[in-house]
């Protein structure tokens, strides 16, 4: 397998008043080009820390991350990040928020082309009529749509999503998952997403990576999700395989997430 993203022996230690705390330890993961991977685990297990290190926003203590044959050392526009809170500049409109990055990475293009890119992505995510509104005039769900458009508009090599739908009610979440899948498929991106929602992980991913509880969190188990694409929620819910995978994930989170692999109890589960 040619690894587009290669995370190896990743370790993150934070200093605390009580001495160093190792949040993530020996985390290994390879991601193919075009794959959609979700990282699932309990709150505070360190899954966001892993994502943040891939984004280059958090320094790593040891180990390495290679993206498209290049080592990740700092943040850059080749990785588009979508955060839980969309982090839009409140004094800019949705359009201007997207243009901020577009103007940077497409500086050789004409201003018309740059505008077309921003308009294209804002329309695809469903903000065609509201792109000239400020964040305060947009609902939580619409702001997150804008966050998604901003990430895709830069045509990044990789998309990193940190619980992007965590603050939305389950039904708005459904809509935005479809927006995300649609864009991911159109642009054929590679995506890594952090979530604690089992159904979200199954609906979106090619593989679900289950993380053990921190401290010293690592990969506990990996689940292949082979439903044909494009997927619909209805078709998934009727697939008996869906509930088997769902039970596997819930079982991991409720019963096995506190076990690090390599220990006898874990070996029996494989």
């Amino acid at each position: 397998m040619k690894k587009f993203l290669d995370i190896s022996r990743l370790v993150k230690t934070f200093p605390t008043p009580k001495g160093p705390l190792t949040v993530v330890r020996d985390f290994d993961l390879g991601v193919r080009k075009g794959e959609f991977i979700t990282l699932i685990g309990h709150s505070g297990c360190g899954k966001s820390t892993v994502l943040s290190m891939v984004a280059g926003l958090t320094d790593l203590t040891s180990g390495g991350i290679i993206l498209a044959s290049k080592e990740v050392t700092e943040a850059g526009p080749d990785r588009g990040v979508v955060f839980q809170a969309p982090c839009l500049l409140p004094w800019y409109t949705a359009f201007e928020n997207v243009m901020l990055g577009v103007d940077q990475v497409y500086y050789t293009a004409t201003s018309l082309e740059r505008r077309q890119i921003a308009e294209y992505y804002l329309t695809i995510v469903g903000l065609g009529d509201s792109m000239h509104k400020r964040p305060s005039e947009l609902s939580q769900g619409m702001r997150q749509r804008c966050g998604i458009a901003r990430a895709f508009a830069l045509s990044p090599k990789m998309l990193l999503l940190d619980e992007p739908f965590g603050m939305l009610d389950s039904l708005t979440k459904y809509e935005l998952q479809d927006v995300l899948l649609d864009l991911w498929q159109r642009d054929q991106k590679t995506a890594l997403m952090v979530t604690h929602d089992v159904d979200e992980a199954l609906y979106l991913s090619d593989r679900v990576v289950m993380m053990t509880d921190g401290p010293e969190a690592t990969v506990g188990d990996i689940l292949e999700v082979n439903f044909p694409r494009p997927r619909t929620r209805k078709q998934l819910m009727e697939d008996p395989e869906y509930y088997r995978l769902r039970e596997h994930l819930i079982g991991f989170l409720e019963e096995r997430s506190h076990l690090r692999p390599g220990k006898p109890a874990m070996a029996a589960a494989h």
């Binding site: 309990h42 929620r233 209805k234 819910m237 039970e247 079982g251």
Partner: protein, 296 residues
Amino acid sequence: MAFLELNNVSKSFGGQRVLSDINLSIQEGEFVAIVGYSGQGKTTLINLVAGLIKPDQGEVSLEGKPVTGPGPDRGLVFQNYSLLPWLTVQENIALAVDQVFPGWTAAQRLAHIDKYIAMVKLSHAKDRLPKQLSGGMRQRVSVARTLAINPRILLLDEPLGALDALTRGTLQDEIANIWQTERKTVVLITNSVDEALLLADRIIPLTIGPGATLGESVPVTLARPRDRKGVNHDPEFKRLRALVTNQLLAFNAGRKVSLTQKLIRPDILPEDLEAPRVSRPPRRPGEEKHEVILTS
């Protein structure tokens, strides 16, 4: 005569119809979940039952008596906990208990308060202030306070909406356990189909506004206690989950219009910002060529 009845209830705000023709009857001891999208009037509905607002048309009655204002016969739990920040866990609950049971001795009231604190597993934290508690613990205090006034009916307005999945699961199990022992009548407002399926005897979807109304009731006959993991191989769970989810998705599909729009996505590649700045037109994916060049 049902325990709680809503007859043709409608409510508008500022000329905008929020709820229309709501008809609902709930039996004593029943656990009913109302599931719907955000901003469609779920909270308005619970506020009408609580007596915090009055309907424009129709009437709400509890045990045959019309609801005209708030009262301790209806206990509310809000998403945002609503605890007084300068009072401890015990004092927050005492505030409600002292109001509702003024005839009791101080010792009786204290014993009563401690019983409910123990029920939500917070005995170790009863002298803490809300800011010293996690979100899940705060919501437990709010549940204990509501149960302690011994209401005839419990109204839960997205009580677990602000909590992470794990804490949410734990509290769902606790609510299910408490309901099993106390056998209160409960109306739960939620946007989670799974939460409704794990807790309720009956699920009622709320359609999409303006002028939202209640859809057809779906009885949930899954055996209790319901196990979050085990239900995944229960065919009835799968059937109900698909039924309710599809109903909600169908409400929303009716709201969508498909439109065809002319859009231009320029076929250009982003520049590498770490490389020195260039002054040439943007590269296009078709222009990119990869060739193997042998050098000595």
